[in-house]
Amino acid sequence: MHLYDLPLVFALIGLAFYTVLAGADFGAGWWQLTAGKGQDADSIRDHAHHAMGPVWEANHVWLVFVLTVVWTAYPVAFGSIASTLAIPLFIAAVGIIFRGTAYALRAGASTKRELGAIDTAFALSSILTPFALGAAIGGIASFRVPVGNAAGDPWTSWLNPTSLLIGVLAVVTAAYLAAVFLCADAARLGEPELERKFRARALAAGLVSGAIALAGLPVLRFDAEPLYHGLVEGKGLIGLIASIVAGCATLALVWWRRYEASRYTAALAVAAIIAGWALAQSPVFLEGLTVRQAAAGRDTLVAVTVAVLAGAVILFPSLALLFRLVLGGSLGLGEGVAERPDEGRSLLTVLGPGLLPRLAIAFFVAGIGFLTVADAAWAHSLGVLCFFAFIVAAFPAALPPDLLQTGLKRR
């Protein structure tokens, strides 16, 4: 592994997270769409929504992460891909807007009918976005994206056998992942009826995606020969085998109702096939462009690597916290219930009523001196700090006095 490979590895890890986490979100939309009508359908829709609600925004940021890493570290490849595959990428983007709108709208909906209508109307995006993104990947994997500004065919680059295969596979896999996750959630919440429904869905979707994947190999052989050879004979074989094993293991675990473990094997199956694709294609990024040729200069690669590693140190503990809260139901609630707010003291008594406004005026005057009158850069920095200090110092004094004190008297 070289420095020039590293950002691509990060991007692929991000892509795997996106496929698993956002894929499950889109898949949840699929089950909402196909839930039908009536009480049972409502409970399916609600369950799918509640399971995804707290995490969907974070799940979708993975895509932004992938895009930014690729355009920073492999700018020419990114420009070529985005311009040739503009249509599927735009369709995916529109689908993402719909999905976000559905979540935003849910915050305001109150009746069952409204909720059902919103979910059905927007769940369409759950098919659109994974299909379009899968089709775009198919275009890259079958070398239909040449280097250059919109140099490839705008239609056949993503409407071709490989793209259709990967697009359909993305939709079905998303549904499969969602069913596995939602089944595990239902079991955890003690909802046997929902558990039974999602178990059946998980098994069915798992078998269908497995069948499509196997049926797809001949398609690849005919349409994307280098990829096919990389997958069945070359370095990609490890990924392919790992994916098949993890996929079968997931089915078995769901069958035996070992849902928590099945979450991880399902995710592994997806991650392994992404790794398999990358290995099968390496070191070629696009036709006539290797990863090394596509990579940006050394300073940029180092900066991206450092930024990603430093970011990961903050990101993963935060993500763990979020998922623990969502999966565990609460965080440290026991200690919290008894905890009452502190004895009331007004802001003004804490800070001294006369001092702050005077201090604020002093900061304001100093700010004008440093930022407006003076010309040096250091003075400007000081001036900005003075103005922020002015706002902070004047804020308590700018609030109406009765506002804070009435609050105290009520206690």
């Binding site: 940021v61 932004v64 503009a86 305001g108 930024a307 930022l371």
Partner: protein
């Protein structure tokens, strides 16, 4: 090692539509960004008041604002994702040529975005699931990520306006030092401070404006007064500061982008003792029908009434921005900014002298107006700086026409996006009305 240069200019019939599509995406996203920057801090302040006083009113207010924050954040996430798509979909040659220089800013911003999304999830779903202190603490990273996010994004914008940190050899960026380019660039701090204050002003005036409308309809309890006073106090303090920060921005532009400054003021010829014109229309190197203030531009830009100010004639006509668009946007921003500052000072004066909120109905009418006007000023400000940069995408290095995609179908994409965003706007308006109408007692 062979490098493939994408700079070869492609023909694009719909450059203007591509620019408009990008502008539309910003117009939708930027007001939501303001709420991402400033609203979490306001909600946290209210929650902090609850923790200090135990007054349930603050808890109710913070919870209701949290719902608004959640809906606006969802819209902000998707519109922000669209922007990152568009950087590739509309301007692939820009990302291909300079992604290695500016991309790092967005990669770091991605992590801010992550933290914001994660902690907003924890904050929203944690109201009943976390201890009060832990819940308050979970909101702090949201406010911090709002700041670091704007810092990194604006560092990229600063770089586009004042490109450094690379060498240009045969149209290719070589010897790239992205950290220097983005954060060693002296030309972005003024933009950051200006935008950050704008975030607090827009949020403050829009929220206060909504409660001013409630007051005008006759509902005016302690809840409404609190909900109005907090954002209004923030906005009223930021607005006068913004005038002075804006003046600083003008001087920075005068120093580094003289052509942009000339477009702000419609200054055709380079001259000493340049005037400022209020209103008017730029034509053939002159401002017609404007009210001139002699020597004012020289004084404002260089602190010297006789200073020489570079006019539009300093560059060939094909390197000048569309003057009237820039100038009208600039004047709109300055005009509204002045109005908002006066409104803020009025509030502060009444608070200072009478120790209460203003009581005049006219004040509240003006405040209702201030909400949408602050958004208009925000967008005008971005039009001023971004259209003022034209015809360059990277100032004096790469033209927007060299950056655009060669793909067809831009009008179709533009129309689709416009429709989708109209739908999104209607949806958000519907949610906000719904949330506003929900009775106060409904809170668990």
């Amino acid at each position: 090692m062979s490098k493939l240069v994408l700079l070869a200019e492609v023909h694009q019939d719909y450059l203007l539509q591509a620019r408009q599509m990008q502008a539309l995406s910003f117009v939708v996203h930027i007001p939501l960004v303001c709420f991402g920057i400033a609203f979490p801090a306001m909600v946290l302040f209210v929650e902090w008041l609850y923790l200090r006083t135990g007054d349930e009113l603050y808890r109710t207010l913070a919870r209701r604002w949290t719902k608004v924050m959640a809906a606006l954040f969802a819209a902000g996430v998707v519109t922000g994702t669209i922007l990152s798509f568009e950087l590739g979909l509309l301007w692939p040659a820009f990302t291909a040529s300079f992604g290695s220089v500016f991309g790092l800013g967005f990669a770091i911003e991605g992590f801010s975005f992550f933290l914001e999304a994660i902690f907003i999830g924890i904050y929203i779903y944690g109201w009943d699931r976390l201890s009060p202190r832990a819940h308050f603490a979970s909101g702090i990273p949201i406010a911090i990520a709002g700041f670091t996010g704007s810092l990194t994004v604006i560092s990229v914008n600063g770089w586009m306006n004042h490109p450094t940190g690379f060498e240009l050899r045969q149209g290719e960026a070589v010897d790239v030092h992205p950290v220097d380019a983005l954060f060693g660039n002296p030309y972005f701090w003024h933009e950051l401070v200006h935008m950050y204050l704008a975030g607090y002003m827009v949020t403050g005036f829009v929220v206060a404006g909504a409660y001013a409308a409630v007051r005008l309809r006759g509902r005016w309890g302690r809840y409404e007064r609190t909900a109005l006073a907090i954002p209004l106090a923030v906005a009223a303090l930021c607005a006068p500061v913004q005038v002075l920060v804006g003046d600083w921005n003008g001087r920075e532009v005068a120093r580094a982008q003289p052509t942009k400054l000339a477009a702000f003021e419609g200054l055709g010829e380079t001259r000493r003792g340049a005037p400022v014109h209020v209103l008017g229309w730029y034509r053939d190197g002159h401002v017609d029908f404007g009210i001139p203030i002699p020597r004012m531009l020289s004084l404002l830009a260089f602190h010297d009434p006789d200073a020489r100010v570079e006019g539009l004639d300093a560059v060939p006509p094909d390197e000048r921005p569309p003057v009237n668009v820039v100038r009208i946007a600039f004047q709109t921003m300055v005009g509204i900014g002045t109005f908002l500052a006066l409104l803020g000072v009025t509030f502060l004066a009444v608070r200072w002298r009478r120790k209460r909120l203003p009581e005049s109905r006219w004040f509240y009418r003006a405040l209702v107006l201030a909400g949408p006007l602050s958004v208009v000023a925000l967008i005008s400000g971005w039009v001023t700086t971004e259209v003022g940069r034209q015809p360059w995408v990277v100032y004096r290095v790469m033209r927007t026409s060299e950056a655009v995609t060669g793909a067809g179908g831009i009008p179709v994409g533009y129309a689709t996006l416009a429709l989708v965003y109209l739908g999104l706007a209607l949806a958000v308006a519907w949610i906000l009305r719904r949330l506003a109408r929900a009775p106060l007692a409904e809170e668990p």
